[in-house]
Structures are given as C-alpha cells and as structure tokens.
Amino acid sequence: MKTFKEYIAYPYGLWMIIFIAVPLLVVIWFSFLSNPDFKMGEYTFTLDNYKEFLDPVYLELLYRSFVYAVIATLISFMIAYPLGNLIVSLPEHRQNLMIVLMILPMWVNFLLRTYAWMVLLSGSGLVVKFLGLLGFTDATLLYTQSAVILGMVYNFFPYMLLPIYTSLKKIDPDLLRAATDLGANHFQMFVKVKFPLSLPGIVSGCMMVFMPAVSTFVISNLLGGGKYMLIGNLIEQQFLTANNWNFGSAISMVLMTIIFLVLGIARLIAGKEIDTGGQIL
C-alpha cells in the first residue's frame, strides 16, 4: 500500500497542533502565571495558583468530586454487571433489542433528561409522592447529594453497560462449562474464570463513568441546586464569572492529573491497553 503516502495525514497533524496541543500548553502555561494588579501584560511566574488550591475549601470540593464520582461508578457497576449477565443469557436477537433499548434514552438531549429528573424529584414530583404512599412523608430529594449521584448514574450508566456486555459476550461459554466440569462450584467458577475474563470490560466501563462524573458541572448545578459544588463547577466559575483564568487553569491541571492517575491505575489492573469498544484509552 505504498501508493498512499503518510503525508495525507499531515493536515490533521497541523490541525491537532493548533487546536489540541497549543491550547493545552497555553492553559498549562497560564496556570503558572498570576496577574495580581489586573494590568494587561503584567504577568509574573508563580506557583500561587496551585498554593491557593490547597485551601481547605477547595480541597473539600476536590474530595467531594472524587467521592461522588467513585460512588456513582460503583453503583453503575453494581447495576450493569448483573444486568450484563442477564442480557448475555438471552437469545441473540433479544440481546440486540435489549442493548438498543438501553442506549435509546441517550438520544434524548442530556440536559433535558437531567431536567426531567428535576421534575420527578421535586416536592410535587412522582417519586416523592410514591415515597409518601410507602410512608416516607416529607422526603426531600431534589437538591441533595443523592440527587447529584443519581444524575451521574443515570447519565453515564450506559457507558458502563456496553463494555461490560461486550466483554461478557466474548467469553467462550465452553470455558465456563469446562470450569464446572472440572469440579468448580458456581462461586469458584465466577471468581476464577468469569470475573477475570470480564475484567477489561469492567475497567473500561469504570473509566468511562468516572471520567465524565468527576468533571461534570451540569449535573451538580441542576440536581444539586448549586449547593454541592464540584471541581467542574469551580473551573466553570473561575473562567466565566470570577474571571480568574490563572486559578481556573491550575484547577484544570489538578483535574487532569487526577484523571491520568486513575487511568494509570486502571491500566495496571487491566493490563496494557484499555479497550472501550473500539476506543483505546
């Protein structure tokens, strides 16, 4: 295939340098500058932006983002893994139908679905009324931590299901049968054979939920009512309302560091590369 030369990829290389590499470098460079007197062009090199982040207020916010994202990831996993197993046990055409049904809601605008949850969870909403029937009167659901986590699980759950389903489907049923034939009980078969074989799917599913969850600002804004600021809210605020871009850039760098650390750990667990259904992370 020597007729096609590599230079047909050069324009995209240039595009990537201009619109991916340079902007990222600008923000990294920005995170080390400060402009205390708000004068144009008078920037000084400093680590203050990172030091400012060590304030307990911001650390609490970072901790909260991390914990919420981990909880949302775990809940999604606990729903998606058994569900994936159930789907795999269906006949082939029913499997496809189920997967389509699970993805279909994602075709409705993400913000609209989140807004619909605001309606459902509000004081006069169906969920509260239903809980009232069960005896849990005056439960507040909207603008709570649980609402934020629910929003994360709801929006990112399909990203967990798909890789898990794919990895479960790839497992040769003969392997599982062989394990039971050789005397493994159901539990041993699961721990020693099925779970390790589905691990790559689990890890990529967890990454696909954790990454958007830890960086969201929309869900916390709408379902948390601004009471539970996450790191994403802080970045948005610094860039759009506080206009402290240097601090905003430093927070973005912290967020990226966390994500790359988690990704590194995930790679260690899953082996070399993480396959998320076609995308290599």
């Binding site: 295939m1 020597k2 007729t3 096609f4 030369k5 590599e6 047909i8 990829a9 324009p11 995209y12 290389g13 595009w15 619109f19 991916i20 590499a21 340079v22 902007p23 990222l24 600008v26 920005f30 058994p82 159930l86 389509v100 049904l101 279909l104 809601p105 994602m106 075709w107 409705v108 605008n109 993400f110 913000l111 609209l112 679905r113 989140t114 807004y115 619909a116 309606v119 459902l120 509000s122 006069s124 169906l126 709801y154 958007p212 960086s215 600002f217 929309v218 709408l222 994403g232 948005e236 860039f239 850039s249 973005s252 967020l255 994500i259 990704l263 076609g278 995308q279 290599i280 992370l281």
Partner: protein, 258 residues
C-alpha cells in the same frame, strides 16, 4: 420463577431509564406551562413550537453544526487514519498520542483550552468557533473507529489489486473502501451523536448569540423549561423510534427472505 425475576429486573431498569423520558413526553401535552402540575390535554405547544423563532434557530444551529462537523471529521478522519496507518513508528506515536487527548481530557478542559485559544487569537466567538471545536473533538473518534479496519486488512491487498491491473483510484473504491466502510459509518454516527448532544464544549466556545439546543435548554433549566422544548424532543424521540422500527422491520423481512 427465574424467568419472573429476570423480567422484573429488566422492567425495573427500563423504568429507571425511561421514566424521565415519559415525563418529558407527557408534559408536552399538558395545558399548564408548569411541568409537574397537570391541567388537561392540549396540542398547543406543538403549534407554538413552529412559531418560536428562538427555538427553531437553536435547532437549526444544532443541525448545521452537527452536519458540518460530521462531514468534515469523517472525511479528514478517514484520510488521516489511512496516512497514520502508513507512518513509520517515529511519527505514528505522537500522532496517536495527540489524537487521544480529546478522548481522555474532560469536556470542560477541552472547552476552556479552546476558549482560551480563540480569545487569545482574537477570533470572533460564534458559529465558526463552535464548528472548529466540534471538528476537533469528533475527528479522534472517527480515526479510532477507522484505524482498526486498516489493521485488519491483509497487508498486500491494495498491491494485489494494482498487480491485477486496477488503477489506484479503481483499487481504492472497489477494494479498500468497501473494507473500511463499516468503520467509516460508525465513526460518522459517533461524530454526529456527540455533536448533537454536546453541551459543555459548545457552551465555552460559542458567542455572539449563537446557541444550540443544549445551550438553550441549559439557560432555561433553572427557571423552568418551556413545554415547546418538550414538544420538540417528543418529535425527535418519536422519529428515532420510528426509524428504528422501520430498520428492525426491514432486517427481519430480510432474514425471512434468506
């Protein structure tokens, strides 16, 4: 018993996934403007939707952005995937590394980096900047779905076609292209979906009164969303359902014919 349990599990998860969507659809027929209080059936929001220039313009921008971003990113992405596939490994690594950045970096960071670039270079924020941003985050997904198709090809398939007398152009369209087509289509589909649904990156890179549906919805969300938006999303969801049913029906007919 086992079957009952299975159906119950599926029922519950589908209820969870579809509850918000049913809420949206039901309240698009609600006479009251407030979601959550039902006061009779009406179709007026559907009529009013087509008179609302603000929403129709947001819809128009959403579609324009998605179509342009998908077309450009599919074209550039496919060609670049071919180029990257041919590269010596010295160049290949940095290409794939940079290509992965938009996939790995959170939306909000992509948004602010592009926003900083546009403001620094003095570009006027508006339709152009949003389209540039969308192309930037769509191409990586196209490349990631086309690349595996190239790696799966027999190494000499193109040379074989040339040896057998095909012109390069003929060999490309008749031999190479059909092989990579599934990857190109799925890449285009991913790009379109991502672009239509994107909020965060558009939110940071837009300006000048250009807003897509997501931005419009976000700006309405705190005060309450106008039922016209519900009507619009009911129409959109309905058409996707219809499309899927048609595809399903046709493929079932195809199976029967075989």
């Amino acid at each position: 018993m086992r079957k009952l349990f299975k159906n119950l599990a599926f029922g519950l998860i589908l209820l969870f996934l579809y509850a918000p969507i049913f809420v949206l659809i039901i309240y698009s027929f609600n006479d009251s403007k407030i979601m959550g209080s039902w006061s009779g059936f009406t179709l007026k929001w559907y009529v009013m939707l087509f008179q609302d220039r603000y929403i129709l313009q947001a819809l128009y921008y959403t579609i324009i952005i998605a179509v342009v971003a998908t077309a450009v990113s599919t074209f550039v992405g496919t060609l670049s995937a071919l180029g990257i596939y041919q590269m010596r490994s010295r160049l290949k690594k940095p290409y794939l590394f940079m290509n992965n950045i938009p996939v790995l970096v959170p939306d909000i960071v992509m948004g602010i980096t592009l926003m900083s670039l546009f403001i620094f270079t003095g570009m006027k924020m508006g339709l152009t900047t949003v389209i540039i941003a969308h192309i930037t985050f769509c191409i990586p997904y196209v490349i990631l779905s086309v690349m595996p198709r190239f790696s799966r090809l027999p190494e000499n398939i193109f040379d074989a076609a040339l040896d057998l007398g095909a012109t390069p152009r003929y060999a490309f369209w008749k031999v190479l292209f059909p092989e990579i087509l599934p990857g190109v289509t799925s890449g285009a589909l991913i790009a379109f979906t991502l672009s239509i649904d994107d909020f965060v990156i558009s939110f940071f890179t837009t300006g000048n009164g250009v807003s897509n549906l997501s931005i419009t919805i976000y700006s309405m969300a705190k005060a309450g969303i106008n039922p016209k938006i519900n009507a619009l999303s009911t129409i959109m969801f309905g058409s996707i359902m219809l499309l899927l049913i048609i595809i399903n029906f046709r493929s079932e007919k195809g199976i029967k014919q075989i």
